[in-house]
């Protein structure tokens, strides 16, 4: 009985593919969004998708751009560059003007290369790549591209934010990073800015760990304690960060954890109450910023998501991306990616919290306000129902992190 079943499924596919290929009509402004939506890293893409959907609904309610609404089309890339490239092909087949991706600099690098080549080879069918979270500094320096816009600070800038937020009484730090491109650049940049901005700080330990392989971080904690470090600086994400902090808290280590990603979905749950006033993260947004600065409108916007999804709105900063898009499309007066890209570069914008930001013209890197949040009790909005939430420990304004770049941008003819 089997062959028929398989065959009908197969037929179903082919039909579905065919339908998918032709049924699109250009009534909305489509943004292909590709991130892992299945497999071990599904939580990343899933959380992003939810929050972006909310933001898009909000932007569309305010009129979209050129009278058209934005529409997000998700593609699962399973954390594999090849699947991201297949998603790019689908997007260009359907003449989508944008492809967006947040997670993984390897995928980002592949996308930049592929978008460059595609746009060169198909001048009539170009696409813009919106980078919402791949932070390897190379992407807007050596590898910079006219078609790539990065809406998150890159690792070097985040490292600077982290170093700037380091309290004066901390003089001994320990570095742990994941052993791959991103971790290595965090390692390099943090050390770089420590020597530049805080020569008094001594790096007592500096380690790379294999990505996602360590199940018990206790030995590292032992080593860190033995080194006499007061703070642990890490770019780790996912289980490598959760388990690291958990092990430290369990061992009762008197440490502060400066992280890049403790605020992302899943982090607060994993850290738990033991992380009170110990865990800090550099972040573009947290839900307590608005009440802290008394911006009722922004607070209401963020609260809306919480009420709808019973979940934190840690990435409300994505709103900036869509506001930039809205502004650039309206400015270009067209949906032609080339025109939009020209309109977008150099654009300045006051974000919904009221801070200034700029999409730098020379490297397409956003320069925006950044916060250092501390995980603590007694904040207005807690994180993931833990009772603890992110309070702002430091605010670094855009003008303070306007780092130089080495980008030599090649621009196409209009």
């Amino acid at each position: 009985m089997q062959p028929r079943k398989g065959l009908s499924a197969l037929l179903g596919f082919v039909l579905a593919l065919a339908a998918g290929g032709t049924a699109w009509a250009q009534q909305t402004i489509k943004i292909a969004y590709t991130d892992p939506l299945s497999g071990p890293f599904a939580q990343v893409g899933d959380a992003n998708l939810k929050q972006m959907q909310y933001i898009i609904d909000f932007i569309n309610a305010k009129g979209g751009a050129l009278g058209k609404k934005f529409e997000l089309v998700p593609f699962d890339n399973k954390s594999q560059p090849s699947d991201a490239l297949i998603a790019l092909k689908s997007a260009t087949d359907q003449n989508m003007p944008f492809i967006m991706q947040c997670s993984g600099s390897n995928i980002a690098a592949a996308l930049i290369e592929a978008v460059n080549k595609h746009n060169d080879r198909n001048p009539d069918n170009r696409i813009i790549y919106l980078n919402c979270g791949a932070v390897a500094p190379e992407l807007t320096n050596e590898q910079c591209s006219f078609w790539h816009f990065r809406f998150d600070l890159h690792a070097a800038m985040k490292a600077e934010v982290m170093v700037r937020a380091l309290p004066k009484d901390i003089t001994k730090v320990y570095l742990i990073n994941q052993d791959y491109l991103f971790g290595q650049s965090v390692q390099r940049e943090v050390k770089n800015y420590l020597t530049k901005l805080r020569p008094d700080v001594q790096v007592v330990g500096d380690e790379l760990i294999p990505l996602g392989k360590i199940k018990d971080f206790s030995p590292y904690i032992t080593k860190i304690k033995a080194s006499g470090a007061q703070a642990l600086l890490t770019g780790n994400w996912g289980p490598d960060m959760n388990l690291l902090i958990k092990a430290g808290v369990d061992a009762g280590a008197d440490l502060r954890y400066y992280t890049f990603y403790a605020h992302l979905a899943g982090g607060p749950t994993a850290i738990g109450a033991g992380g009170d006033n110990r865990v800090l993260a550099v972040m573009p947004f947290n839900e307590n910023v608005a009440p802290e600065i008394g911006n009722a409108e922004a607070e209401a916007f963020a609260r809306g998501f919480r009420e709808k999804h019973k979940f934190d709105f840690s990435s409300a900063g994505f709103r900036t991306i869509f506001e930039y898009l809205q502004a650039a499309i309206n400015k270009a007066g067209s949906l032609d990616p080339t025109k939009i890209a020209y309109a977008m570069e150099g654009l300045s914008h006051k974000d919904f919290l009221g801070f200034d930001s700029t999409m730098r013209k020379d490297d397409h890197q956003i320069v925006s306000v950044y916060f250092v949040g501390v995980f603590k009790k007694g904040v207005k909005y807690d994180a993931e129902g833990t009772g603890l939430g992110w309070g702002t420990a430091a605010t670094v304004l855009a003008k303070d992190i306007d780092q130089p770049n080495s980008c030599k941008m090649k621009r196409p003819k209009m």
């Binding site: 071990p40 760990i209 996602g212 018990d216 206790s218 289980p239 388990l243 061992a251 280590a253």
Partner: protein
């Protein structure tokens, strides 16, 4: 010294957790020849069951109920799935468990969501048991040691003092002999598979809150368990035990020694610079590859001694 003692303790805790997972797989792999890719999934299920149960009736009942549930699921899988697949060969069995692992992962995602769940250590055990050189040793870790030691004792007694245990032991070393002796092999298989799954579930119950309970936990734990089982040798629980502890200690101590091949060569007056061929490989430090050492050791032992550490027959 300080680092040494603390690392030793931590290595033991991790090793024992590994053993709890690996012991079940050793039984299954040695007796049934099934490369059970869903074993780590049972570990994950154990953790999630325990999380849900402990939310309603507390951690202590969960400690008993969750492994039992896993065992029941294991028995069901064996009776209605694996047994059918068995006659299609080992590759079929392996793919069966592989498919099962995919399904379990998705079902877990659909039931408990994609994010980690707040499965916490019971308050009764949430205190530092003692402080050694300024580092707390959490009581929960001691509890983990205790549970796994008890379990080791229970398995050992079960295998050496009961009739069924003796049959299983015989079947471990000579799987083809058991049926010749007239025993009800299918029932023994079901029993072993269920017991193995229950052990993995128990590991999940006590490991889920020591680590993080999330849908990816099976995926990350899977390969290392195979390594332990194969390294220890098929058909040998003792080998499995030694391998588990060894792997726990190795991973812990690899972190402590910050050396690389280049340092070693420097001792002999050979200085590695950036221009040296393979400089990148030579300058990798031990902590960076600590987590990979088990795999390296498994490859080497299999190449030179295919029966593993204490195996009774070739892998």
């Amino acid at each position: 010294m300080e680092v040494f003692v603390v690392s030793l303790l931590n290595g033991l805790v991790y090793g024992m957790l590994l053993f709890m997972l690996a012991s079940g797989l050793t039984l299954i792999l040695s007796m049934m020849g099934v490369l059970n890719f869903a074993h780590a999934s049972a570990y994950m299920l154990g953790a999630y069951f325990a999380f849900t149960i402990s939310q309603h009736i507390g951690f202590w009942p969960a400690l008993v109920i969750a492994p039992l549930l896993c065992g029941l699921i294991g028995a069901a899988i064996e009776m209605w799935g694996l047994r059918r697949v068995h006659r299609n060969g080992h590759v079929a069995e392996l793919l069966f468990t592989f498919g099962l692992a995919l399904i379990i992962e998705k079902v877990v995602q659909m039931t408990w969501g994609l994010l980690p769940v707040p499965y916490r250590i019971p308050e009764l055990l949430d205190f530092p048991l003692f402080t050694i050189y300024g580092t707390h040793f959490p009581a929960y870790r001691a509890f983990m040691l205790l549970v796994s030691a008890l379990m080791f004792g229970a398995i050992w007694l079960g295998l050496t003092r009961t009739r069924i245990g003796l049959i299983i032991q015989a079947a471990l070393t000579h799987p083809e002999m058991a049926s010749a002796l007239g025993h009800n092999v299918p029932r023994i298989f079901t029993l072993v598979f269920a017991a193995g799954t229950a052990l993995a579930g128990l590991a999940g119950v006590i490991g889920g809150n020591y680590q993080v309970t999330e849908p990816a936990m099976a995926f990350t734990m899977g390969p290392i368990v195979f390594v332990v089982v194969v390294f220890g040798g098929l058909g040998s629980l003792t080998g499995c035990f030694i391998a588990s502890i060894l792997m726990g200690l190795i991973q812990t101590f690899a972190v402590v020694f910050d050396v690389s091949l280049a340092d070693l060569l420097a001792r002999f007056g050979f200085v590695v610079t950036k221009e040296t061929p393979f400089a990148e490989v030579l300058t990798v430090t031990l902590p960076r590859i600590g987590a990979l050492l088990p795999f390296l050791m498994m490859v080497l032992i299999l190449v030179f001694r295919p029966r593993g550490l204490m195996g009774t027959r070739d892998t």
